[in-house]
C-alpha cells in the first residue's frame, strides 16, 4: 500500500477528470449566485482530515474569491480555526485585491457544536460579538448589516463528522431554507445523499469530488489552471487510482484463496 501511494506521488501522475453530477451541482450553487453574494463557510474538520478536505476547502475559497462573494469563515471544531487560517492565507497571497472586513471575515471557534448553529440562525452577535481580530461586528462593513445567518445566500460546510453537515442541515438548511452545500469525508458522504436536493443543494464526497470540482473551476475560469496549488486534489487522484486498484486485487486474491480452500475442503 505504501508503494502504491508513494510511486504515483513521486511520478506526479495526473489523470483527466470527468465532472460528476454532484460536483456540477455544488459548482453551480456557488457560480450561479450573483457576484458579491454572502457566503458562510464553516470549516468543521481538523488536521486529521486535512488530506481529504483541505483541497476542496481551498477550492471553495478560490471559487468564492473569483466570484467576489463576501466570505464569512467560522469553525465548529477546536482544530478547525487553523484550517480557516490556511484559506485566509490563500486569499491574501492569491487574491491581494480582496480586503479583510469588506470581502472576507473570520470568526473564532466557539464551543457548543449544533447549539452554535441554532444560536447564529437567530442572533449572530449572541455568539460572535467580535471577529477573530477582536473588531466589533458593527464596525466591520460586511457584518454590520448581518443580523443572523438567515441573511446568507449560501452556506458551504466542509465537514469531517459531528458537528458538521448533518447539524447544518438539521438546524440551518431545513428549518430556515438556507441553501447549503457540503464538502465532506468519504465516510460521511453516503449519509448525505438522502438530503439532496431539498435539504442540501449538493455534496462533494472526499478527494475525487474535490478533483472534479477543481476541474469544473478550471473549465469555467481557465486562468486558475496555471496555479499548481489549485490542482492539489487532481494530483492526489494518481495515488488514489493505484491504491484503489490494489484494493481490488487484494479483494480478488482473498476471494480466490477462499474459494480454492473451500474447493479443497469439499474434495
Amino acid at each position: 500500500m505504501l508503494l502504491a501511494v508513494s510511486i504515483p506521488i513521486l511520478a506526479k501522475t495526473v489523470f483527466p477528470e470527468v465532472i460528476s453530477r454532484q460536483a456540477k451541482l455544488v459548482f453551480d450553487a456557488i457560480d450561479d449566485l450573483p457576484d458579491g453574494s454572502r457566503v458562510l463557510l464553516s470549516y468543521d474538520f481538523d488536521p486529521a482530515s486535512q488530506g481529504e478536505l483541505l483541497p476542496m476547502a481551498q477550492a471553495f475559497t478560490r471559487h468564492c474569491s473569483i466570484k467576489g462573494h463576501k466570505q464569512y469563515y467560522m469553525a465548529l471544531w477546536p482544530l478547525g480555526s487553523p484550517m480557516v487560517d490556511l484559506s485566509i492565507d490563500t486569499i491574501e497571497s492569491e487574491y491581494p485585491d480582496l480586503v479583510y472586513g469588506e470581502d472576507y471575515v473570520k470568526f473564532d471557534y466557539k464551543t457548543g457544536g449544533e447549539a452554535v448553529i441554532r444560536m447564529i440562525t437567530q442572533d449572530l452577535r449572541g455568539m460572535f460579538e467580535l471577529d477573530s481580530k477582536g473588531i466589533s461586528l458593527d464596525d466591520i462593513p460586511m457584518t454590520k448589516n448581518v443580523k443572523n445567518i438567515q441573511d446568507m445566500d449560501l452556506i458551504i460546510n466542509v465537514s469531517a463528522g459531528d458537528p458538521g453537515t448533518k447539524q447544518w442541515v438539521q438546524f440551518a438548511a431545513t428549518p430556515f431554507g438556507i441553501t447549503t452545500v457540503s464538502g465532506c469525508t468519504g465516510v460521511q458522504a453516503p449519509q448525505m445523499y438522502p438530503y439532496i436536493p431539498e435539504q442540501l443543494a449538493g455534496v462533494l464526497g472526499a478527494i475525487k469530488a474535490a478533483a472534479e470540482y477543481e476541474a469544473a473551476i478550471d473549465d469555467a475560469y481557465p486562468s486558475i489552471a496555471d496555479n499548481p496549488k489549485a490542482q492539489e486534489a487532481k494530483r492526489r487522484m494518481g495515488p488514489q487510482l493505484v491504491a484503489h486498484s490494489l484494493m481490488i486485487v487484494l479483494i480478488l486474491v482473498g476471494n480466490w484463496i477462499f474459494f480454492m480452500s473451500r474447493k479443497r475442503g469439499q474434495a
Partner: protein, 319 residues
C-alpha cells in the same frame, strides 16, 4: 520456528526500507536543501498620534512600538542569490520543527511493525498536546470573550480585547453559567460529585430539547416527505422509463429497508421476504460506504507521504 519466521521477514523488510530511506535522505541532503526552512524578516512599526492612537509607520523613532515577524521563503523562490544577499536566513526553530514533524510521522508509521516505544511515545504526546490545545483555545475563544468579557468588561477590554464594547457593564445573568462551570468541576473532587449533576442535567435537558426539534424536522418529517415521489414519470416525450424505474426502486428499497428495521413483527412470510430485500439494499449501501471510506483513508495517507517527499525531502515541490 513458525513464529520466528514472520518476525525475521518483518525485520528484514523494515531493515531494507530503513536503508533505502537513509540513502534517499543522504542523497537528498547533498542535492537540495532537505529539511531546511528559510525565512525573511518583516518589520512592523507603529507610532502614536496626539490622541494616543497608533498607526503604522515606515520610519520608526524612539518610543514607537516595533517588532519583527518572519515569512517562510517558498522553495521556488529560494535561490542561492537570495541566500547570498542575506535577505533570507535559516530558521532553526522551524527547521527543527520540520524534522520533528517528519520523525513523529515515522514514529506513528512504525506501528505497522507492531506496538513499540516510539509509537507509544508519539501517542502519549498527541494526547497531551491535543488536550492542552483544546483547553487553550477554549479559554481564548470562548471563556474570555463569551463569559469573562460579560462579567468584567472593562478588565477584559484593557487586557486582551480592546475592540470590544465595555459600556454594558457587569452582566448578572452570566453568573449562572460561571457557577455551573464551577459546579461541573466538582466531578473531579473525591466527594461532592453530586454537585456536578446540576450542570450535567442542564446539558442533558438542552441537548434533548434541540436534538428532538432537529431530528423531527430534518430527519423524520423532511425525509418521509422526500421519500414520497411520483411513481409514474412523464416528460415532454411522454412516459419516461428510467426515471420511473428509479422512482419505483427508490420507494421499494426505502420501504423494504425500513421493514428490516421493524422488529415488532416476526420476519416471516411476506414480511421476511421484504426484509430480505431490504438487507440487500442495505448491503449495497454499506458497500458504497466502504468504497468511499477507502477513498478517504488513502487520501490521508497520500497527504502525509506528500509531506515527507515534498516539505521534508524535497523530492517533489513542497505543498
Amino acid at each position: 520456528m513458525s513464529t520466528d519466521t514472520p518476525k525475521k521477514s518483518n525485520a528484514l523488510i523494515w531493515g531494507i526500507i530503513f536503508v533505502i530511506g537513509a540513502i534517499m535522505l543522504v542523497w537528498s541532503m547533498t542535492t537540495s536543501r532537505t529539511g531546511q526552512v528559510w525565512i525573511t524578516p518583516e518589520q512592523h512599526a507603529f507610532t502614536a498620534d496626539a490622541d494616543g492612537k497608533y498607526s503604522t509607520t515606515q520610519t520608526p523613532v524612539a518610543g514607537d512600538i516595533e517588532w519583527t515577524t518572519y515569512n517562510v521563503v517558498p522553495d521556488s523562490e529560494l535561490t542561492q542569490e537570495v541566500i547570498d544577499s542575506g535577505e533570507a536566513s535559516l530558521s532553526w526553530s522551524r527547521t527543527i520543527g520540520l524534522w520533528l514533524s517528519a520523525i513523529f510521522t515515522l514514529f506513528i508509521l512504525s506501528f505497522l511493525v507492531g506496538d513499540n516505544p516510539a509509537y507509544k511515545f508519539a501517542e502519549a504526546m498527541v494526547v497531551g498536546t491535543s488536550a492542552g490545545y483544546v483547553m487553550v483555545i477554549g479559554l481564548w475563544d470562548v471563556f474570555v470573550p463569551n463569559l469573562l468579557a460579560k462579567l468584567f468588561p472593562v478588565l477584559v477590554q484593557s487586557w486582551t480585547l480592546p475592540g470590544m464594547d465595555a459600556s454594558g457593564g457587569f452582566q448578572w445573568l452570566y453568573i449562572i453559567p460561571a457557577i455551573l462551570i464551577i459546579m461541573l468541576l466538582f466531578q473531579l473532587m473525591p466527594s461532592g460529585g453530586w454537585i456536578s449533576r446540576w450542570p450535567i442535567a442542564f446539558f442533558i435537558g438542552i441537548t434533548a430539547g434541540y436534538r428532538m426539534i432537529g431530528y423531527v424536522e430534518a430527519d423524520l418529517v423532511a425525509q418521509i416527505k422526500a421519500g414520497i415521489v411520483p411513481l409514474w414519470i412523464t416528460g415532454e416525450g411522454g412516459f419516461e422509463f428510467w426515471p420511473t424505474f428509479n422512482a419505483i426502486l427508490l420507494t421499494v428499497a426505502t420501504l423494504s429497508a425500513m421493514i428490516y428495521f421493524f422488529f415488532s413483527i416476526e420476519h416471516k412470510g411476506l414480511v421476511g421476504k421484504t426484509a430480505r430485500v431490504g438487507i440487500w439494499f442495505l448491503m449495497i449501501t454499506f458497500g458504497a460506504s466502504f468504497g468511499y471510506t477507502v477513498m478517504g483513508r488513502i487520501a490521508l495517507l497520500a497527504a502525509r507521504l506528500e509531506f515527507l517527499f515534498g516539505d521534508w525531502l524535497h523530492f517533489i515541490p513542497s505543498s
